[in-house]
Symmetry: C2
Subunit: 151 residues, 2 copies
Amino acid sequence: MNDVKPSQEPDGPTGTLAFRLGTVGTLVTARFAAAVEDLGVKPKHVGLLSVIGSGAPASQQDVARTMGVVPSLVVTLADQLEELGAIERVRDPDDRRRHRLGLTPEGHTLLAECTARARALDEELTAGLSTAERDTLSRAMGVLAREAGLP
Amino acid sequence: MNDVKPSQEPDGPTGTLAFRLGTVGTLVTARFAAAVEDLGVKPKHVGLLSVIGSGAPASQQDVARTMGVVPSLVVTLADQLEELGAIERVRDPDDRRRHRLGLTPEGHTLLAECTARARALDEELTAGLSTAERDTLSRAMGVLAREAGLP
DNA sequence: GATGAATCGTTCATAGCTCGAATGATTCGG
DNA sequence: CCGAATCATTCGAGCTATGAACGATTCATC
């Protein structure tokens, strides 16, 4: 009768979802960063690639909004990815203020490799979970993302 | 037969658990930071309070290890919390190199308030989830935390 | 007991990341 | 045609967290 809530967890903020999400997120991001370091990119770069990769070529403003960062940061990230030969900037003929960002063939390859490594990391992380739990977790993260103000 | 995997998710890294954990973590942390801002503390302070609050009084080195940060950062955080009157440093009589960190009565109150707000945030975030899903999520986060290298 | 090595807390300088304001080019609305 | 708005870019600044030095204290070995 005493294990209705089997929580052996500490009862401080450290035990709450909000807090744990932060610490685990930081840790996992660090691990992902280490996993793609040799490719010359960091998580933010991968995020940019991913945004560009899925969907129509977008302006840097759009990308910034989607990523939840400031446009000036997109400039820096895009500069570095362009230098890697992963993306290219094309002046939008319809509105020549805009730069439409697109993946180069090398960019597609890079994105695919990053995706593969992210998936591998997922496998490691969820090794201790059942398939049903993974699905629930995956779905819950989607809900949380929207709840936290993501597109 | 085509919805064996009902994933409408994008297939880039953005859709992976590892990546989403990072972005959601950052977002949630920002929201928690805003929630406790008027108390004069930031998430890292709350983490420190939480570590001190649960368990025997620990040295700053121990706290640093538990939090996964460098000892010099604990100095800064402890300074600010001490100035708030939330914690106190006591020279360990058994080993006078050490400072044992302890919560003051005000510190207990502050920690309790932070805990309450973290729980309230949890409620908001998981509003769209069933009770069973919340439990699974909670458990899964514990597994991930250990898997990612947390105590 | 003495003495060199190790540990604890602290200070300081520094690196990394991100933001915000200012600028120039371009487009839109009246 | 002209002022307001939008886009990309540059530049400077802020904040966090780190790592290397340093004094105080303890430990281990002789």
